[in-house]
């Protein structure tokens, strides 16, 4: 990767002087996608999805079966992010003894926008003072929101051809080992085994199986095996399988429109040294997020529940489908919870 050494201005001080001596990715280097779709672009690699891609994706619908890829969003031990709260404003309590009660039931929520099945948008990762397409980070990502690359710009996007690459199945396991680095060889072997071709504009879903450790059987109001859900904070932040540095370059070469994983971070944890070195921040532990979101302009889906879809694909041998997962229209948000739909 083309890197340009930059000296930190002497007037700035901080705790990260160590970074000063290091290099980081040049904002205008050939390696990023900045400027590729114009200097005002806020869509990034979603530009690869042409109307023709969408028409062809719709033609993949054969059985008419729909699969939701959203993990359950619930309270307490079911919450991925402890900030999630769903509060019943009106319940049915006393309905029979108080017939004058209003006849509606309603709830209220505090919804972390990157705390369940979600897209991490192009305003969510910064570094070197920039976000995707070279917008100034401090001026753009403010307490008022991501004024550039906000998630609302994608409100009529992320519809296209989806491809599932089932790496857990490829490796003949339910769940890849913690820390397992998914490589381009894995991705290509899975595509070959599954007899599916990768095309420009695809939304690629990569299954590690990890989410199974996080959501054992759950039903609303009755959590099965609460004990099994304990220790999940550690699971979230702990070691997990995912894609590494080389895969980011493979996705770029395939002209992938968006990528999603069934883990929490959208990449392997702990990170590869190669990744942190290439982005120029050895202390930053999410180099794949940095490379894909900030440099390439590719949104990353996280916490996708791919098990049901994977089982269906294994049954019929078809790993391509129509995919639709527009974010909510939340102005200037960094991300959005979604309920992705795979339609076979």
């Amino acid at each position: 990767m083309n890197t340009v050494p930059l000296r930190r201005p002497l007037s700035m001080s901080g705790v990260w002087l160590g970074t000063l001596a290091l290099t980081f990715t040049c904002c205008l280097g050939d390696e990023t996608n900045w400027g590729k779709w114009g200097r005002h672009d806020e869509l990034g690699t979603l530009n690869y999805i042409t109307p023709q891609c969408i028409v062809e994706a719709a033609r993949l619908v054969r059985s008419g079966r729909t699969y939701s890829l959203a993990a359950p969003l619930g309270n307490g031990p079911l919450a991925v992010d402890p900030a999630f709260l769903l509060v019943m404003m009106q319940t049915g309590q006393g309905a029979k003894t108080h017939p004058e009660k209003p006849l509606w039931l309603m709830d209220w929520m505090a919804l972390p926008l990157q705390g369940t099945t979600h897209w991490s948008g192009l305003g969510s990762v910064f570094g070197g003072g920039k976000i995707y397409n070279g917008y100034d980070a401090e001026a753009s990502v403010t307490p008022l929101g991501a004024l550039k690359n906000g998630i609302q710009t994608l409100r009529n996007k992320v519809v296209g051809r989806g491809v599932l690459l089932d790496i857990a199945r490829l490796k003949e396991t339910d769940i890849l080992a913690p820390g397992y680095i998914i490589t381009p060889d894995d991705l290509e072997a899975a595509a070959r085994n599954q007899n599916v071709e990768i095309r420009s504009g695809d939304i690629i879903l990569i299954r590690t199986g990890w989410i199974r450790t996080f959501f054992p059987g759950v039903t609303p109001g009755a959590v099965k095996g609460v004990a099994a859900l304990m220790g999940r904070r550690e699971k979230l932040q702990g070691s997990q399988p995912g894609i590494g540095w080389a895969a980011t370059q493979w996705l770029k070469a395939q002209r992938t429109a968006a990528v999603a994983l069934d883990n929490f971070h959208g990449e392997v944890v702990p990170p590869e040294a190669e990744g942190t070195r290439r982005i120029g921040f050895p202390d930053f532990d999410k180099p794949v997020n940095y490379e894909l979101i900030r440099n390439q302009g590719m949104i990353i889906g996280k916490l996708f529940q791919l098990d049901g879809l994977a089982a269906a694909c294994a049954r019929d041998g078809v790993y391509e489908f129509m995919f639709a997962a527009a974010p909510l229209n939340i102005p200037f948000a960094t991300g959005s919870p979604i309920n992705p739909q795979a339609i076979k």
């Binding site: 049915g92 309590q93 309905a95 509606w104 039931l105 980070a137 753009s140 990502v141 409100r155 200037f332």
Partner: protein
């Protein structure tokens, strides 16, 4: 398809709803354990047909913004909070994150079938005290619909039908409106449709702001169309109006539905009695203009709720794909 007024009248007089001891007609129709109601009309065949309507590869996002500029009236504030930003980071790398607080029935949203109850019962006869708890809905929660809302969408443009910018607030949408506009547009209803009505009310939002839009009174459907929706086997109904149902309601409708005194009788009739979800504040201006331009009023509709366990509704950004 045209339904003689007589049929509508007969249905109206016969009544469904919780009148007397008889349960609503749709209860039990899909079995005693059903929790999705009229979404059962969306069969794989219906979804497959919907996908076949995608010819141009163009997508319309129909969701209103969720932010503090879009409060739903005086009591339903929406806030979007940044919890981390790039400010002060200098050249350091990092993540920006945020939180949304909202009622699940904020701007564009689904009213799930568990949104309304009457006579101590939810849709399909589930006991409301047992099932609408502090932990959310144990029956008919919105998550049950999480993989059920990919179907054919039909846009009925009543603003254009009447050649007005927007329907008057007191316009009661009739079966004649629904049939007449469809005939003029050259589109037929099919079982499993998501029926979207463009009343033009979104003009109020665009020109006068959200608070004017949320002001008292709403054009919408009444008893007659609620029974017609059952006849055409609609899977769900939505519009750009303030309430979907006429407000104030027709004087005799609460009694017909079995909820005397309750001012949202059509919500009870559709959500609870028929098991039909309502899509509220689905903004259709851009889609309506496009449909008028190419004369095609049918499309693939993808509008799943968030997978909120036990939720009564959900914020959405539904898609129309042509």
């Amino acid at each position: 398809m045209r339904y003689p007024l007589l049929i509508a009248l007969a249905v109206g007089l016969g009544g469904t709803g919780a009148i007397g001891a008889s349960a609503p007609e749709n209860w039990g129709k899909w079995g005693p354990n059903d929790e999705i109601g009229t979404l059962n009309y969306i069969t794989p065949e219906v979804t497959r047909h919907a996908a076949s309507l995608v010819k141009q590869g163009r997508v319309f996002g129909l969701g209103l913004p969720y932010d503090m500029k879009s409060p739903r009236g005086s009591t339903r504030v929406i806030q979007h909070y940044m919890t981390s930003t790039a400010q002060g980071a200098g050249l350091k790398p990092g993540f920006a994150q945020d939180v949304l607080t909202t009622i699940s029935h904020g701007t564009t949203h689904w009213d799930g079938i568990g949104h309304m109850f009457a006579s101590g019962k939810l849709y399909n006869g589930y006991d409301v005290e047992e099932n609408a708890t502090d932990r959310g809905l144990l029956k008919c929660g919105i998550h049950k619909a999480s993989d059920k809302l990919v179907t054919r969408g039909v846009l009925i443009d009543l603003a254009r039908h009447f050649n007005v910018r927007h329907l008057p607030r007191d316009h009661l949408i009739t079966v004649a409106d629904m049939e007449g506009a469809a005939a003029k547009q050259g589109v037929a209803y099919r079982s499993g449709d998501m029926i979207l009505v463009h009343t033009g009310s979104d003009i109020i939002w665009n020109e006068q702001g959200p608070l004017a839009y949320w002001s008292r009174g709403s054009t919408g459907i009444g008893w007659e169309v609620s029974q017609w929706l059952k006849r055409v086997q609609a899977a769900a109904f939505g519009s750009d109006s303030e309430s979907n149902e006429i407000m104030p309601c027709e004087p005799d409708t609460p009694a017909k539905v079995g909820v005397p005194g309750w001012q949202l009788p059509i919500h009870v009739e559709l959500n609870r009695n028929q098991g039909m979800m309502l899509g509220d504040h689905i903004f259709l201006t851009e889609l309506a203009n496009d449909c008028a331009a190419d004369g095609i009023y049918e499309f693939m509709f993808v509008g799943p709720p968030l997978n909120l366990l036990g939720g009564t509704g959900s914020p959405i950004n539904p898609l129309a794909i042509k």
